[in-house]
Amino acid sequence: MKHLLSTENLSAFDAIRVLDTAEEMSAVGEREVKKLPALRGRTVVNLFFEDSTRTRISFEAAAKRLSADVINFAAKGSSVSKGESLKDTAQTLAAMGADAVVIRHWASGAPHRLAATDWIDAAVINAGDGTHEHPTQALLDAFTMRRHWSQVNGTGSTGADLKGMRVAIAGDVLHSRVARSNVWLLKTLGAEVTLVAPPTLLPIGVEHWPCKVSYNLDQTLEAGTDAMMMLRVQGERMNASFFPSTREYSRRWGFDDARLRALDDLGMKDTIIMHPGPMNRGLEISSAAADSPRSTVLAQVRNGVSVRMAALYLLLSGDSREAAPNASQSSKETN
C-alpha cells in the first residue's frame, strides 16, 4: 500500500491488516505513555481544503502518538480558486519534505490527483474527498463493528472479518462519502449492507452497488439489523427539493425514540447505533438514541485515532512486512 485513497480498491487482506494493526495501536492508547517512536523524524501534513476539526485532530493525535512531526495546513480554498492551485500547494509540501499528506478536499478525486501526478511523492491519505470516499472513517466504523461482532460471537477480533453481520446505513447516501466507503469496505469484509434513504437521496446507479436498497426504515429494522448507522442530513437539502421538510424526513428516515424502542420490542438486544458525527440531534437521530447504551458514537471517535495510527504506520513504516513495535500480539507474516 503506497496510498490510502479509497476502500473500493482495498483488498480484504489489506483491510484486515489495517484493522489488526489498529488493535495493536489501540493497546498503546491504553498505556500510561501513549506514544511510540515509530515515525520519529517523519513529517505528516494535514492538508485541509475544507473545515473538519474532528477529522483533523484525530489524524493529528494519531501522527503525534507515532512521534511524527505534524504540520497543519488549512488551505480552505474558494471554488473559484483565487489562491494557490492544488499543484502548487502539493509541490510546496514536497519541497518541505512531507512524507505523508493527509488531504481533506471538497472536490471528489482530489486525493487521486495528488497520488497520480508527479507533483508530490509522499504517501497520500484521503481524509474525505467531496462526495466520493472517506476511507479512514469506513475503517474506523468497521473496526468498531468488528469489536462488537466478535464480542457478540464470543471470538477474538484480530484477523476476523464481518461475515454474516447485517448493517443498515440510513440517510443522505447521495452526498455521503462515508456511505460509499462503508458499502465497499463492508462488502469486502463480508457484511450484508442495506442502504435506507428517500429515493431522491440515492444516486442513479445504486442498483449496481453490492448492497440492498430500502426506502423504508421500519421494514429494514423489522427484517433485523446488527448495526444501524445514521448519516448526517443537511437541513438545507430541503431547499433543493430532496425532501419536503425536515420534519417529514425525520418521521420517515430518522432514528427516533419510537424506533429505538422498536429495537427492544423486536428483541434485537445486541444491535448498535452508529453515527460518524457531527450529529443533527432531532433530525436523523434522536438524543435518546444518540445517548443510549447502544450508541457507539464515542467509541467510533476513540477508534478513529487507532485506525489512523495504523494507516499512517503501514504507509510510512516502509517495509510493510514489519510487525508493529511493542505489539501485544505477534503480527501475522504477510507478503
Binding site: E8, S79, S81, S85, L86, K87, H105, W106, A107, S108, G109, A110, H112, R113, A116, T117, D129, G130, T131, H132, E133, R177, R180, P203, I204, G205, V206, H208, W209
Partner: protein, 441 residues
Amino acid sequence: MAENTYLIRGAAILGGEAEDLLIRNGTIEARGKDLSADDATVVDAAGLIALPGMVDVHTHLREPGREDAETVETGTRAAALGGFTAVHAMANSNPVADTAGVVEQVHSLGRASGWVDVRPVGAVTVGLAGEQLAELGAMADSRAQVRMFSDDGICVHDPVLMRRALEYVKAFDGVVAQHAQEPRLTAGAQMNEGTVSAVLGLTGWPAVAEESIIARDVLLAQHVGSRLHVCHVSTAGSVEIVRWAKARGINVTAEVTPHHLLLTDELVRSYDPVYKVNPPLRTDADVQALREGLADGTIDVVGTDHAPHPSEHKECEWAQAAMGMTGLETALSVVQETMIETGLMTWADFARVTSFTPAVIGRVADQGRPLEVGEPANVILVDPAARWTVDPHKMATMGRNSPFKGKELPGTVVATFFKGHPTVLDGQLNTPYRYPAVSSN
C-alpha cells in the same frame, strides 16, 4: 514549373479507383488515368486516398480573448494538419462574436493566416446570455457572411427565444446550432450520470438534460418550419429523437464528435480532467448508438468541438478543471478507427460526414465539393495504412489536452490542398495560401 500546378499521381479517389488529379490555379483541371502536365509539381499518391478537404462545423479558436489557449493562426495550422480546409469558429470568444465587428475580425484573421477557410459562427444571444437576440442579420450581411448561429457552451434554453431565433434566421438561410443542455438538470454537473458517477461521487449530467432539449427543439423547428442543427449529440436517446424527427420530415441535422465515438465515462475513474468535456463522455451503449446513427445518416456530420485549454486549466482538481478536448489533429484518425476499421462506413461515407454535408449545413461555398473537373481544389491525401501514437506535445494546437494521448491510431494526413495550394505536404506544414492583394470579398 508553374507555381500553382500540382499533379497528384495515383490517389484512390474517395477510396475508390486510383486516378490522377491535376490541380491548376485553385481548380481541379483534370481527373483521370495517366495525366501529364510538364509544368506541374508531381505528388506521388500511390497507396493514398484523395478526399475533399474536411469541413469542421464546430471549432473553438479562442481568439479574440484567450490567445493563451489558442489563436486563429495556431488553430488553423492544427486544422490544416488534421486534413481540414474549413472550420467554423465558435462564438464564445471574449468579446463574444455577437456583432458584425467581431465576426469580421475573426474572418479577417482567418484570411491573414491562410491555412483554412475560417467561418465565424455568430452568437444567438447578446453575450451568450440567453436573454436578447444578437444582431443576427448584421452578422449575416457582414464580410464574414455568417450562416451558422450558436451560443455553444450554453444552451438557448428559453423556449420563446429559441423559437424566435429559429424563425428569424430563415430570412437569410441561417441555421441555429443548439448546444442541448437543460441548465436546471445540469447545475454543477461534472460527468455523465450513471453507474460511474454514483461511485465517483461526481455530480451527474443526466442524458435527459440533452434529450429533452433536442425533443423540444425539433418540435419548435417543425412548428416554425426552420432549420435546426444539434451540436455534439452524445446519447443513445438523442439519436432516437433525431431519427424520429427526420422520419417526420423535420429539417434537423445533427453532429457527433470523434471523442464521443470512441471514449466512455469509464475513463473518468482516473479523475484526470483531460476527460472532462461538455457534453460528458457517456456509456458504451451510447457510443455504439452514436456510431450506428452516424453510419445510417441519422447523425449527419462529425464536428470536432476542438476546445484547447492552457495546461493550468487541466492540472487541477476535476471539479475545478475546464471542459473540453482538442480534436482537430486526431479527428480523421478517430473516425477511421471507429467507423471505417469497424466496417460501418466507407471512405466515401467519410467524405459525406466530414466534408460534403458539413459544407451544406454551414452554407460554405467552394467547400465540400466533389473531386471533379472544374471544382475548387480543396483536397486531402490520406495514408490509411499508417499508424501513429498521439503525442499532444507534437501538435500544432496550443492545447495539450488531447484525451487520445498515448493511443495508437490509424491514418495520417499526408497532404492538404487548400484552394489548390499545399498547406500540408509530407505530413508537415508547408506554407499558407495567400489571398490576392485586392480582396474581391
